[in-house]
Symmetry: C2
Subunit: 315 residues, 2 copies
């Protein structure tokens, strides 16, 4: 299991490459919910999502020989773009397996950074199968989307930046897809803010991690039908789940409608574009799912790569 | 004419009230234009625009007796919201005269902060006439939108924050409506970055300040038909113009289409919502109107209060 020391190592490597994203607040929201709220705006990160942190650290940690072979990844969207850009920056060939239903803007972004995209069926199983085949046939090195110590450590660097900007924090809300983001940031948060509570958030249809958390073993669900496309993973990673059991205080859910309302508030009041998955953790604050008051809360906005057609619909 | 000392005074007063807005960059844009570019994101400011800076400083500078009488302002949009919020924070009654064609979201915002809105015809002349009447009839204290030393000093605090975040800057691009923003920020910029060039930017139909700058006297134009609703002022203020002649290096223009292209880039690539006027100075960089290369450039995004209907059209 990784420690805060691993996240510090990761931060030294990714710092020159990632944007230090701002913490954004809204007094209107503070008044509405009766807490002091800040959002870590990873939608303003390079590639429009936090995924560049883990992907860059992972590929930078490969040996020269491995980087010469090229890498293969599978992802419904943002990890694909993170891997594509990281590989480009590090001079490595990247092949990315994406489900056919991936948002077109994420596919275009991945190709735009110079990666080769191979399409597969929509299940997590099929993605893994196709990526495995490519790996075996061409000798590509796999860059997994979440269940990997380097990836976890890289994602955790977001909270290192949070702690540079604020000294006290009572709660950190993090969206949970495969669990890499929450694993890394839970480890960092518990080290940097000793009394903090770390809360994982999913949409109701994609609550596999909440089920797993309660059962204390990984539960695998069918591909969930949710607006949060980053949560269409069917189960969290093993390494992530170990960390979640040890460091995460609770797993909660919001509805797709609550996510949409949050996205609209971001657009109309806070002037930022947030993708559905990115609005999941903030929605738990906006709708005060935990019934908190007078606390200092932070939620990670995981990304902003929303399809213009969906954005239009939301407006 | 104000000096940097006045802006320092203003900063002490507004600092606890305004957001310190981030400087946002995009490597994609840097590569496109061959310069290092940062945007001062005043669209992420309270009320969604820089106007809270000047309005708050102005109203905070009134005597207790004046604040008891209440204040009156006229504005096509963001100054209205700035005045409304500032008055609310300072416990003062606010009446705001707005042209009938003001974007509905800006009217709603102004009323939402508790100000009374009185509608007028669309010309600057009529706004001023109606505000004057209210002032005489009720004894309200006028809070002008731009031609006022306190307002100018307040707006200039944006560049105080820029200088906290970066040490070197070759060019600052600022949008010009009534000229308050550029006046304050030109004074601050020339003090904080001694070799900087300050460039004012208008849309072509609203180029009254460019004409004035070339003629060295204030030129008044008919209400211009431009997408940048914050530039529908017909002439710059006298105090602002004095400063512009002394501190601004050039006045340039962009087309409405260039502004729309910039707005789309902000939405799709940088994940921020920017109103047309807010995209004017950035558009001069995006389209490299001055043909610069290898320079450090900053443009002020003046606001993000765009009507959802227009946003939809742009998407």
């Amino acid at each position: 299991m990784i420690t805060f020391h691993d996240i510090e190592d990761a931060y030294r490597i990714v710092k020159p490459v990632v944007h230090k994203t701002p913490l954004l607040g809204s007094r209107t929201l503070d008044e509405r919910v009766g807490n002091e709220v800040l959002f870590k705006a990873e939608n303003l990160q390079r590639i429009g999502a936090f995924k560049i942190r883990g992907a860059y650290y992972k590929i930078a940690s490969l040996s020269e020989e491995e980087r010469k072979r090229g890498i293969v990844a599978h992802s419904s969207g943002n990890h694909a773009q993170g891997v594509a850009l990281a590989a480009k920056l590090l001079g490595t060939k990247a092949v990315v397996v994406m489900p056919k239903s991936s948002p077109p803007n994420k596919v275009a972004g991945t190709q735009g950074y110079g990666a080769e995209v191979v399409f597969c069926e929509d299940s997590s199983d099929d993605r893994e199968r196709v990526a495995k085949e490519l790996q075996e046939r061409h000798g590509y090195v796999p860059v997994p989307p979440f269940d990997d110590d380097k990836i976890i450590a890289g994602q955790g660097t977001a909270t290192v930046e949070i702690a540079q900007d604020i000294r006290e924090l009572d709660y950190l809300f993090v969206p949970v897809g495969g669990g890499g983001l929450i694993a890394g940031n839970a480890v960092a948060a518990k080290h940097l803010f000793p009394n903090i509570k770390v809360i994982g958030v999913e949409t109701e249809p994609a609550n596999d991690c909440q089920q797993s958390f309660r059962k204390k073993e990984i539960v695998r669900i069918n591909p969930p039908n949710t607006i949060a496309d980053g949560m269409r993973t069917q189960a969290v990673g093993k390494r992530n789940f170990e960390i979640i059991l040890q460091y995460v205080d609770d797993m909660i859910t919001v509805t797709d409608d609550q996510v949409i309302e949050m996205m609209r508030f971001f657009l109309e009041r806070m002037k930022i574009v947030v993708e559905p998955t990115g609005a999941v953790a903030p929605a738990a604050i906006y709708h005060n799912v935990l019934g908190l008051s007078g606390k200092k809360l932070c939620a990670i906005i995981s990304g902003g790569n929303v399809d213009p057609a969906l954005l239009k619909k939301i407006l």
